[in-house]
């Protein structure tokens, strides 16, 4: 519409440099071409993570630059989705599918972000009769103890080292070496994520996750070595001096106590195939009576937290030798409901976009002017 005060027609105010930059950035992110490029880049990057690393789940969680790269890609994708959605304003009924799909993906990414920031997870291993209110949170530590003076019967803390074990599987030549206070050197030569010992031979093919490190302790011309499974302590002696090496993970607190009462492994009749793996546990919260629950594969224990979230205890694995100890995965994830809400919106959006929108378009075309 012409500006009545201007005989020469509409006077478009010249945009300020700030507006220019904003528009430029917005148009850059609102491009579908960029979206296609980001999707192809995501496909390539994620595919490569499985080619270069045997355990991408460990890498993504623990290897700094991979974690950052994924976060950058997801932020880029979120900005792209957000800008594309905004650029399609005004949102008519026909655009509802696109709007819902993009909004659903943004909600899902927000949920995943909450999971990354606020989520916690780890492992608990309990023998029958044992109880705990703590779990290993996945960060590996080599804890070394030394026998104190004769009056002290127990080994005392000597030195602790954090172990960066992510990415080891694809880089077998990797070593972690640390010098101890007495001048001797401790070296982690090998790391098996699925450690299994058959006689004297170590294998890396146990089901589930049962990590172990191979440690060499060197001083002068002599050295000694040993495999140390996660949670175990091994005594090593070198040149008459003894140290206790414990491969462990940092422990964190649970808001409840869990006690393993009974572990049951059932098999199909006449076959060695397991039919169910179950752990009967007692769960106790401070100041409240305990209750019994059966945890089995696909049937986790859920414990509502005082905050917005649920602790889940799932059956992970068990001690194959004795069949009297159970390993549970523990997780707390306040992002879970947000992610599921995002999933539902995405599904509804894709369905609308593919099959309702063409139907609506036909109706609009048929409608009289």
């Amino acid at each position: 519409m012409a500006n009545p005060s201007s005989p020469a027609g509409p006077q478009v105010p010249s945009p300020s440099p700030k507006q220019d930059i904003f528009e430029l950035v917005f148009n850059f992110f609102a491009s579908v071409k960029l979206g296609v490029g980001v999707m192809l880049a995501c496909a390539l990057f994620f595919a490569l993570t499985t080619v270069f690393w045997q355990e991408p789940e460990v890498i993504v969680k623990n290897m700094g630059w991979v974690k950052t790269a994924i976060e950058v890609i997801l932020v880029f994708l979120t900005l792209n989705l957000f800008a594309v959605t905004l650029s399609r304003y005004p949102w008519t009924r026909l655009k509802l599918g696109m709007l819902a799909t993009h909004a659903g993906l943004i909600v899902t990414f927000c949920g995943a972000f909450i999971t990354t920031v606020k989520g916690r997870d780890g492992l608990i291993t309990l023998a029958e009769g044992e109880e705990t209110d703590r779990y290993f949170n996945g960060r590996d530590v080599l804890s070394i103890r030394k026998m104190g003076p004769a009056s002290q019967r127990r080994p005392a803390a000597y030195q602790d080292f954090p172990l960066a074990l992510a990415g080891w599987s694809r880089d077998p030549a990797r070593r972690i070496e640390r010098e101890l206070l007495d001048g001797t050197v401790v070296r982690v030569d090998r790391y098996y994520a699925k450690f299994r010992l058959e006689g004297e031979v170590a294998h890396n093919d146990a089901p589930g996750r049962s990590p172990a490190i191979h440690l060499t302790w060197r001083g002068g011309s002599s050295e000694t070595n040993r495999w140390i499974p996660l949670g175990a302590t091994r005594e090593l002696t070198l040149n008459g001096s003894t140290l206790y090496f414990n491969y462990t993970q940092i422990e964190a607190a649970l808001p409840f106590v869990v006690q393993l009462n009974d572990f049951r492994l059932r098999h199909y009749e006449g076959s060695g195939v397991p039919s169910s793996i179950e752990s009967l546990v007692t769960v106790r919260e401070a100041g409240k009576p305990g209750y019994e629950r059966l945890i089995s594969v696909n049937n986790p224990l859920e414990f509502p937290d005082k905050t917005w979230g649920v602790w889940k205890v799932t059956q992970n694995s068990y001690d194959r030798a004795t069949q009297t100890a159970s390993t549970f995965s523990v997780s707390y994830d306040p992002g879970r409901p947000v992610v599921y809400a995002g999933f539902l919106i995405v599904c509804a959006g894709v369905f609308f976009m593919f099959w309702i929108r063409p139907f609506l378009e036909k109706r609009v075309e048929r409608a009289p002017e």
């Binding site: 994620f46 993570t49 045997q54 991408p56 789940e57 195939v273 523990v330 599904c347 369905f351």
Partner: protein
Amino acid sequence: MTWQPLAGSCIAYALACGAFAIGIVRGSAKSRAAGFGLMCAGLAVHLTGAGMRTYAAERPPWSDLYETLVVTSLMCAVFGACFEAVFRSGYAAISSCFMAALGLLGASLLPLDFRTSGPLIPELRSHWLKYHVLSMICAYGAFSLAFGISVLQLWLHFIRKDDAVTRKLEDLNYRVVQIGFFCLTLGIILGAAWADAAWGRYWGWDPKEIWALVTWFLYGACIHGRMIGWCRGRRAAAASILGYAAAMFTFFGVNFLLGGLHSYANPT
């Protein structure tokens, strides 16, 4: 002599393929009708075979590699028959019959250990098996059909230079990819819900999960690429073939080459 329904359906699909080829080349409606009849017969026998397996094993027939291959072929044939019933061009039907026959042939060539029905391991004893795996099978079935159509499209483009038909095939390919993409989205989401129940997390960067996401991104790029004209004509067919390669790597490759928590393909 034992009755082998899957071999029977494989032969029926192969014959249907021939009848559709004659129908398309000669423009004969009768040949196409005969092809559709043979295809339906093959489907009925295929369905009976899958039903017998379900009855014998007392569980859904998609718990190992052999079964998923058989049911993926079945879904491919079902989608092809549905598209043929609606569009009556013969192209969707010939592609689906070819892919279904190929799938059944592949399944029958697996070692006996893989074909023998075994009991379910505890990880698979969940109601999520029905929903998650079926969604993924529907996705793979649709993508198989889209792959068949894409190959046909490229063949017609380069050998017969028939642009009118290739445009039709491009449109058909897009519609099939839409079904596959929706089923894949649903399958990934249902898988996340199952992983949450079984392992306590909805996403764990397991190789199978990563490759399902790679497939999703590739088909997502293919769908968006069509909007901006990048995925039109030959490029649409090539993109669909690339997506199918990722889907097949998710289906087979991950189990045999990468391992991870989803390696249930090997016989127990």
